[in-house]
């Protein structure tokens, strides 16, 4: 049935947005972290979205039906922001260098909050889509009643 595709696409959207939210939360939580396993201050992370065609053998069969354009979304990678760390003068800090400067993560709180709101809205849009699909499928089942 056609609606299964719609559910799978929305689910891929929900998963991707939730992952994005996790990455943003991690950035926020680590906005003052100066020590990481790799050494140096925490580096801001970002997700990379990519559209992915729905891959099923059934899908291939039905491509003649015009469904070839349907794509879900997938997070294909988590990248590190190349922006340099923020240098702050704080000689009391245990991680300060000999001149008294500390490297703090390159995280802008406002930027993260805006991204968080975007992710929330995108997630909500996908939830609305799931509900719409469900309503349509139920309506189709009512035809025979």
């Amino acid at each position: 049935m056609n609606f299964i595709d719609a559910f799978r696409i929305s689910a891929s959207g929900l998963t991707s947005q939730r992952l994005r939210m996790n990455v943003i939360s991690s950035n926020l939580a680590n906005s003052h972290t100066t020590r990481t396993p790799e050494g140096g201050p925490f580096k801001r992370k970002d997700v990379v979205f990519s559209s992915q065609p729905l891959e099923t053998s059934f899908q291939k069969m039905m491509q003649a039906q015009g469904n070839a354009k349907l794509t879900g979304v997938k997070v294909v990678g988590v990248i590190e922001d190349p922006r340099p760390p923020i240098i702050k003068y704080d000689p009391q800090h245990p991680d300060a260098d000999e001149k008294g400067y500390v490297s703090l993560p390159n995280i802008n709180l406002i930027e993260e909050m805006v991204n968080m709101m975007l992710a929330t809205r995108s997630y909500e849009a996908n939830v609305t889509a799931v509900n719409a699909t469900k309503r349509m499928a139920l309506k189709a089942l009512e035809i025979g009643k």
């Binding site: 609606f3 696409i9 929305s10 959207g13 354009k69 879900g72 979304v73 719409a132 309503r135 349509m136």
Partner: protein
């Protein structure tokens, strides 16, 4: 009137309506899921125009029977001629090549949903009418 004729007129058109609406729904859902994907181009399907094009000209695909013992199957409608448009330029708010206009997609989703419901409702009434006739109005 044969039994095929009974389902040929309105019911067949309504069926096409439902099929096209669900195709459009899938495209809209795909656009919404890819709202934040760089370089994604949004797709659309003009259901009204496609209905005009399909009505009367559409053939249905039936499975060919190569053996007497094969069960009859078929009645799948052929939608390979349906044109799906891709908006290569549109609102590009953040300059990442994505052309999904989320307000448009969400309102289209709601509209498509309502029209699907309407068609499903008409189809349901149509079947109820047939049932009523078959039962002699009792």
């Amino acid at each position: 009137m044969g039994s095929e004729g009974m389902f040929k007129g309105t019911i067949s058109i309504l069926e096409q309506g439902l099929d096209l609406r669900s195709m459009k729904h899938n495209l809209l859902v795909s656009n919404i899921a890819n709202k934040d994907t760089p370089n994604y181009k949004s797709f659309d399907l003009a259901v009204d125009e496609e209905m005009q094009k399909l009505t009367g000209t559409q053939r249905s695909i039936a499975l060919r029977k190569t053996d007497q013992g094969h069960l009859p199957a078929g009645g799948f409608k052929d939608y390979s001629g349906v044109t799906i448009t891709k908006s290569s330029q549109g609102v590009e708010a953040n300059g990442d090549g994505n052309t999904v206009d989320i307000e448009k997609e969400m309102t289209d989703l709601a509209e498509n949903n309502l029209l699907y419901d309407a068609v499903a409702q008409i189809l349901r009434k149509k079947f109820q009418g047939l049932k009523n006739v078959i039962q002699g109005g009792s």
